[in-house]
């Protein structure tokens, strides 16, 4: 807002409402306070974004071609060796250091920092796998259940109770799902710490959200649209396919993207069900049978952040790793969330009744 506009507006207000009274002054004061509070919140969030983007960007981006830190994005976490050789200072990840040392006879004294070298590719891959599997399970169960609850089930006390309990489950803390997944899938089913245990735990965590949001968007469609279809002799399924689902799609999509962001962002449910602190192989390497893929633990970005920021001694080298990981993670989750917000705004404009 330009200052001249404010002046015009204020003068207009003066001419319209006459002289300023005490209550007007109070009003302006209180509104200023509200504005201050609101912008304070925005500022706080911005501080976090800026801090992580600025410090993480140093790890992820490079000033020369290809502008990205390829090693960081494609390697696995390793010990960092810091040493001086022939007057130059080197920082090398473990594997690089080994090959470097082979050509040299004299012993090299190094300082080592756990988790500070290499990259985070296994974590990215693990997170993507976890999200994909969990969302397939959750979407299948969730959307189909929502269709039943909204279109087929008869309204009544039971339906209300079911709805209420699903809504309540949506607010249950994620750690409770974590402890459930640990007890049920990891121990009782004997799946151990594995991808599949993580999938089911995460899927169950978002299931209530997806069911209630999808059902909500289907119920928001006016009954008249269904009646019109029935009046033309269409069956129930045809009605759902042509007159309900297309209009409910924006809502279903948004809810599922929110689900993706939640699944990708949560740490507590996978801590005991799917995540390893460190694993040498990528998930698809070294499999004896194809289904071994499901029964192995993976590294995951959120758990990696937890490990490097709480479980190992802190120094400047680990700090780089932490910020780099946090930046990549924030970027992935934020991209998902942003696309859901944009999609919703777009879709809202498209469908109106």
């Amino acid at each position: 807002m330009s200052p001249s506009k404010t002046v015009v507006r204020e003068s207009m207000e003066k001419s319209l409402f006459g002289k300023s009274t005490k209550s007007k002054l109070v009003e302006r004061l209180v509104f200023a306070l509200f504005r201050l509070g609101t912008y304070f919140v925005l500022l706080c969030a911005a501080t976090i974004f800026v801090d992580i983007v600025y410090k993480g960007g140093k790890t992820v981006f490079r000033s020369e071609f290809p502008f990205l830190n390829v090693e960081f994005l494609s390697d696995s976490p390793q010990t960092l060796h810091v040493f001086e050789y022939q007057g130059r200072k080197y920082e090398m990840s473990d594997s690089n250091f080994r090959s470097f040392r082979q050509g040299i006879d004299e012993p090299i004294v190094t300082e080592t920092y756990a988790y500070s070298g290499g990259g985070i590719w296994p974590c990215i891959a693990g997170t993507l796998l976890l999200v994909a599997g969990a969302m397939i399970i959750a979407m299948t169960l969730g959307v189909l259940s929502a269709i039943f609850l909204s279109e087929y089930s008869r309204p009544g006390k039971i339906l209300n109770a079911v709805r209420l309990s699903i809504l309540n489950l949506a607010g249950v803390p994620s750690i409770v799902f974590g402890i459930f997944g640990m007890g049920m899938f990891v121990l009782a089913f004997g799946w151990n710490v594995s991808l599949i245990a993580g999938w089911f735990t995460l899927a169950l965590m978002v299931l209530p959200i997806i069911i209630s949001a999808s059902e909500e968007s289907m119920r928001a469609i006016p009954q008249g649209m269904r009646d019109a279809s029935f009046a033309l002799g269409a069956t129930q399924w045809t009605t759902i396919r042509t007159n309900v689902l297309p209009y409910a799609m924006p809502g279903i999509l948004t809810s599922s993207i929110i689900g993706v962001a939640r699944v990708a962002g949560e740490t507590a449910p996978i801590m005991f069900t799917a995540a390893y602190a460190l694993r040498d192989q990528l998930p698809w390497e070294g499999l004896e049978r194809w289904y071994d893929l499901f029964f192995q633990g993976v590294m995951a970005l959120p758990y990696h952040i937890y490990v490097v920021s709480a479980k190992i001694p802190q120094n400047e080298y680990t700090s780089r790793m932490q910020y780099g990981t946090a930046f990549v993670f924030l970027f992935i989750v934020a991209a998902i969330a942003l696309s859901s917000i944009l999609l919703r705004i777009r879709m809202r404009k498209k469908y109106r009744w």
């Binding site: 509104f31 976090i48 409770v176 962002g265």
Partner: protein, 530 residues
């Protein structure tokens, strides 16, 4: 599924293809219904499973408490309570000593000189420390006898379990070869009990000793130290009074008093200690964790409620439309920041920042500043506030949005200002929605794990609420944090494992309760819009 009901009354649908007697329509309905059924059953299963895994806890805990009592270790613990009180007294005395050393150094005495000065009062300190020795030795001896009994009892338990499994697999000879003795706790306990007269004598000597020594407290000739010694005298006299109470408890203690299941229950819900892997007795008390969770949540709500509701009012009522279109998605976007990233920010930046700010000279007048711990309830609470604000904002804004425009118009038409309209008309009308928004925000804060695990300091102790507002800068542990921290290392089916499930169950019930009330409030106070 009733196949017939899916056909219409006039057989219009009879020409449809059917497979195994199912038309496409009913098959689809079955598919959807089946999915819904599975979802609901699975979600219900979570509740059942939590109950099932947690339920065994009270039985195990009761057995453990029973063993604790029958082995007589509880008796020793009573005496140890007295010993601890005495050590606290000694510690206080030592703090006077070290303060004296500091003072001497400040006044510029060198080592030899200050030693000479301290030697004057040395006897008093040594004498007092000597007073504690007999009691300590008595407790240690009693503890040794009884723990030995308890340990061999547990060994025998393991052996008999081993024998059971041998018998099951038909290895009779090996099973018979195991030598299993019955451990009679009474026998061991009687040894300790028979020395009760010694204990009484020790106490008599202790009281006489302290009373004898108190008048000869050294005079340091310094106001601060003098005040401290006066305080010490008071504490010592209080201790003397307490001795009889300790003694009474010890004498009244009975080994045969039963442990009802309700005691296991109350010592979980109202227990003040959470101690695991202890050599004497494990305690699973919820209060330290619960109070930690509540303290963090209170800090978070203190910031989140005014800011969240204020922002909702601002965006909905005051802001121009461009501002609104930018702020709303932005705040929703905040809710997508993963909690572990916020927790990491707390460790890396926010905690250090708070400690630095607390060290500012201009803030020195606040009596609990500067703070010692970087990670404390305030750090975690401040960050959680940022996570609760989007929840509160979104829901409260919805509630404000639902207030019919005519209300606002009517109020404005009466000549009230915008602020008056907001305060008197719009907020009261939307109040139920705002309250439920606040409740749901609270639920989010109580259930959040990573931020508290990383930033709350993880010290298992009840925060000292008596110290006033400074309590928020103490490190705490929370219900969610304890699960995340300890679940990784427990044995499946052990008491500890079940205790963590019980904590999870409590969290589950709290969140259900919050959700339930949030919905109730919305329904009950819903405005009728004529």
């Amino acid at each position: 599924m009733d196949k017939r009901s899916s056909k219409t009354r006039y057989q219009l649908a009879s020409n449809r293809k059917s497979f195994l007697g199912l038309t496409k329509e009913s098959a689809l309905k079955g598919l959807f219904g089946g999915n819904a059924f599975v979802s609901i059953v699975v979600l219900g299963l979570i509740t059942l499973f939590l109950f099932k895994e947690g339920a065994g806890f009270f039985g195990q805990y009761r057995d453990s408490l029973l063993l604790y009592r029958q082995s007589g270790l509880e008796y020793v613990e009573l005496m140890r309570g007295q010993q601890n009180a005495l050590s606290a007294l000694t510690r206080y005395l030592n703090s006077i000593r070290s303060r004296q050393i500091e003072k001497l150094a400040e006044e510029g005495y060198d080592f030899q000189e200050s030693r000479a000065i301290m030697e004057e009062s040395e006897d008093f300190f040594y004498d007092f420390e000597d007073l504690a020795v007999p009691l300590r030795e008595h407790v240690i001896e009693a503890n040794e006898i009884l723990s030995a009994a308890r340990d061999s009892y547990q060994e025998m338990q393991n052996l008999s379990e081993h024998r059971e499994s041998l018998l099951k697999s038909g290895r009779q000879d090996e099973a018979d070869a195991l030598e299993i003795r019955e451990i009679d706790f009474a026998l061991f306990f009687d040894i300790v009990k028979s020395r009760e007269s010694e204990y009484i004598k020790i106490n008599e000597n202790l009281i006489r000793g302290i009373e004898g020594i108190l008048p000869s407290t050294p005079d340091f000739g310094d106001a601060e130290l003098q005040a401290k010694t006066e305080r010490f005298k008071e504490l010592a006299e209080m201790f003397i009074e307490e001795v009889s109470k300790f003694e009474e408890n010890v004498l009244a203690w009975e080994r045969s008093r039963p442990v009802p299941i309700s005691e296991a229950f109350t010592s979980f819900i109202f227990g003040k200690k959470w101690v695991t892997n202890s050599s004497i007795q494990d305690w699973y008390g919820l209060i330290p964790l619960m109070s930690g969770s509540l303290l963090v949540a209170m800090v978070a709500m203190f910031f989140a409620v005014p800011l969240g509701v204020g922002a909702a009012i601002y965006v909905n009522q005051v802001a121009r439309s461009l501002e609104r279109d930018l702020i709303k998605p932005y705040i929703e976007f905040i809710s997508a920041i993963p909690s572990v990233v916020i927790g990491f920010f707390g460790i890396a930046v926010f905690g250090t920042l708070i400690r630095e700010v607390s060290g500012w000279e201009s803030l020195a007048w606040i009596d609990f500043f500067p703070i010692s711990e970087r990670l404390n309830a305030f750090t975690a609470g401040g960050l959680l506030a940022l996570m609760a604000i989007p929840t509160i904002f979104t829901l409260a804004e919805d509630a404000l949005n639902n207030v019919p425009l005519s209300y606002k118009e009517a109020s404005m038409a009466m000549g009230s200002t915008r602020l008056q309209t907001i305060v008197r008309i719009i907020v009261p009308t939307a109040l139920s929605g705002i309250i439920s928004a606040v409740l749901l925000g609270f639920g989010r804060v109580i259930g959040e794990t990573m931020v508290v695990l990383l930033c709350a300091g993880n010290r298992i102790e009840i925060p000292r609420f008596a110290e006033g507002i400074g309590v928020v800068f103490e490190p705490v542990h929370t219900m969610t944090g304890i699960i995340a921290q300890e679940l990784g290392e427990v044995v499946h089916g052990s008491m500890h494992y079940r205790a963590l499930f019980m904590v999870g169950l409590v969290l589950f019930l709290i969140s259900l309760l919050i959700n339930y009330f949030a919905q109730k409030i919305v329904m009950k106070f819903q405005i009728s819009r004529g």
